[in-house]
């Protein structure tokens, strides 16, 4: 599933950085909104829902692009454990990007809350009213959010390791602009 290209295509890079902003905002909004009873609560909830759906749509577009354009190969001299970690983390991140919004949508549906995006625009319910389903989905949404943030921290730590310590060109495959000469 790799390509001979040295970098991800421009649309893939654009989506990566756009989604990075969206997802980080989303995680901070989520953890912040459940910690307050001020009017910020409502503002944050009102952003959380449409932003979550936007992330779901972007993630599906991104997955399609990934299947079409694939990813640049990892450097051949990369040690096996790191290679495994790099590949596994991508599966985990894609799974979270797609499942978290769906779990949130399902959780609201199972509690019979209307899923309002903007004004009168709302999404249909995707699950029947069920305290059991709601509880499972709510717990999943809660714990996966922390797992998501931890995965992103590892992702950031890892890419800085590739850039600052190994300087092996992996950062450049997704860099928004060229930060060094392309390897020949």
């Amino acid at each position: 599933m790799t390509t001979s290209r040295k970098r991800f295509t421009a649309p893939q890079r654009l989506l990566h950085w756009l989604m990075a902003i969206c997802i980080l905002s989303m995680l901070f909004i989520g953890v912040g909104m459940v910690s307050t009873i001020t009017s910020k609560y409502l503002t944050l909830v009102q952003i959380h829902k449409p932003l979550g759906i936007a992330i779901l749509v972007l993630a599906l577009i991104r997955l399609t692009l990934r299947l079409i354009y694939k990813a640049p190969a990892l450097p051949p001299d990369l040690p096996e454990p790191i290679k495994l970690g790099a590949e596994l983390s991508q599966y985990v991140l894609y799974a979270l990007m797609i499942s978290m919004p769906l779990i949130g949508w399902g959780m609201l549906s199972a509690a019979s809350y209307p899923v309002v995006l903007f004004g009168s625009l709302h999404l249909p319910s995707i699950l029947p009213l069920s305290p059991t389903l709601h509880t499972w989905l709510w717990r999943a949404h809660h714990y996966l959010a922390f797992a998501f943030f931890a995965t992103i921290l590892m992702h950031v730590g890892a890419i800085l390791f590739h850039k600052l310590i190994r300087n092996d060109g992996i950062f450049e495959t997704m860099a928004p602009v060229l930060t060094r000469n392309q390897p020949k």
């Binding site: 995680l27 910690s35 509690a111 009168s120 709601h134 921290l153 730590g157 310590i165 190994r166």
Partner: protein, 351 residues
């Protein structure tokens, strides 16, 4: 994940410190946002915990207004609300209603005559899929002016310190107005004879986009008959539920929904302050309660009457309570639905 067993470069401290700093700062920012570094922050968790009686909350039940009974019926809009709000629920027509009569207590087994505040939760759905939820009470004003004040009221009334309430009232003199109603206001023998008030102010948005600060009330068609509480106590612990069940079985019960519009300068931020009685009111429709169902297995059991579930055409105002209530109701809902197995399934359950 960041240690390499086979780094091609010799170890350099600088980059490692940069990586640790970036990851560490992000983690601390996240912890701060979550409130973990701010023990003083009034969180939904704290507010809901403060509602619990000394023995802890009644598992599986709403953390407040825990005792209640479901109803279904209709809301028939007369069309007059459309001048104030473009919400479809005010367009002339009949819309299905799900609701719940309830008592303002965290104890689902409280005797009806011991609970001062009676409430009504309601959900009205329109055919376009929008929904309006509201939770109203029979008090004419809210006990305090701010959510923080409400938290302090709960803390003081649960405190073993004999001076706690005195101190609270000194800090929140607005509570005295509420006490005036609590001690001197009339009691009735029926949910059907109560007037239920939004207390909180909201904004209606009309077709031109103009906003109107408003409050609303459900005014009973039934004539309220004042009954002293010691008389009510003789009617048994569940007389309100028994009475409303029989009453609705004998004939539907009605309330008119009346919207009051603020004058410029009226406070919308403080539900403890009633607006003067001469404010313009518009009767926008009629609530008809057609059927009563016990809460257990009833259609209202797993519904959160979150007052911020609003159709386009109604929004929150600068009143801080709807946000606080929404945050706390959500917390309560998540807790109680996870404890659903504790909700008494039979008569031999918790009762």
């Amino acid at each position: 994940m960041v240690q390499s067993p086979a780094s091609p470069n010799s170890f350099r401290l600088g980059p490692v410190l940069i990586i640790a700093a970036v990851v560490g700062i992000a983690a601390v920012a996240f912890a701060y946002t979550a409130g973990w570094l701010s023990p003083q922050r009034l969180t939904p968790k704290k507010l809901v915990a403060a509602l619990a009686p000394p023995g802890g909350p009644a598992l599986g039940h709403r953390r407040n207004h825990a005792k209640g009974i479901c109803f279904t019926g209709t809301f028939e809009a007369n069309g007059d609300g459309s001048s104030l709000s473009r919400a479809p629920v005010f367009a002339r027509g009949q819309y299905p209603v799900l609701g719940r009569f309830n008592l303002g207590t965290p104890d689902p087994d409280a005797a009806d005559a011991t609970v001062r505040v009676r409430g009504l939760g309601i959900s009205i759905k329109t055919p376009d899929g929008q929904e309006w939820r509201s939770a109203m009470i029979n008090a004419p004003i809210f006990p305090v002016s701010t959510p923080q004040g409400f938290y302090e009221l709960l803390t003081a009334s649960g405190s073993k310190n004999p001076d706690a309430m005195k101190k609270f009232i000194a800090a929140h003199p607005e509570f005295i107005t509420f006490l005036g109603w609590a001690k001197g206001g009339p009691w009735t023998g029926s949910y059907a004879e109560e007037r239920y008030n939004s207390l909180d102010s909201f904004l209606f948005v009309d077709g031109s986009g103009a906003t109107h600060p408003i409050r609303w009330s459900l005014i009973p068609a039934a004539q309220p008959v004042s009954v002293p509480p010691d008389e009510l106590a003789k009617r048994g612990p569940d007389f309100l539920e028994q009475e409303i069940t029989q009453r609705v079985a004998a004939g539907p019960q009605r309330w008119s929904l009346v919207v009051t519009e603020a004058n410029p300068g009226d406070s919308t931020a403080d539900p403890n302050k009633a607006w003067p009685a001469d404010r313009r009111t518009v009767e926008v429709g009629t609530l008809t309660v057609q059927q009563i169902e016990p809460e257990r297995d009833g259609p209202c059991l797993n519904i959160n009457f979150d007052p911020t579930v609003l159709p386009a055409g109604i929004t929150t105002s600068d009143d801080p309570f709807p946000a606080a209530r929404s945050a706390a109701y959500s917390r309560s809902y998540n807790s109680r639905t996870a404890e659903a197995s504790h909700y008494p399934g039979t008569d031999t359950g918790a009762r």
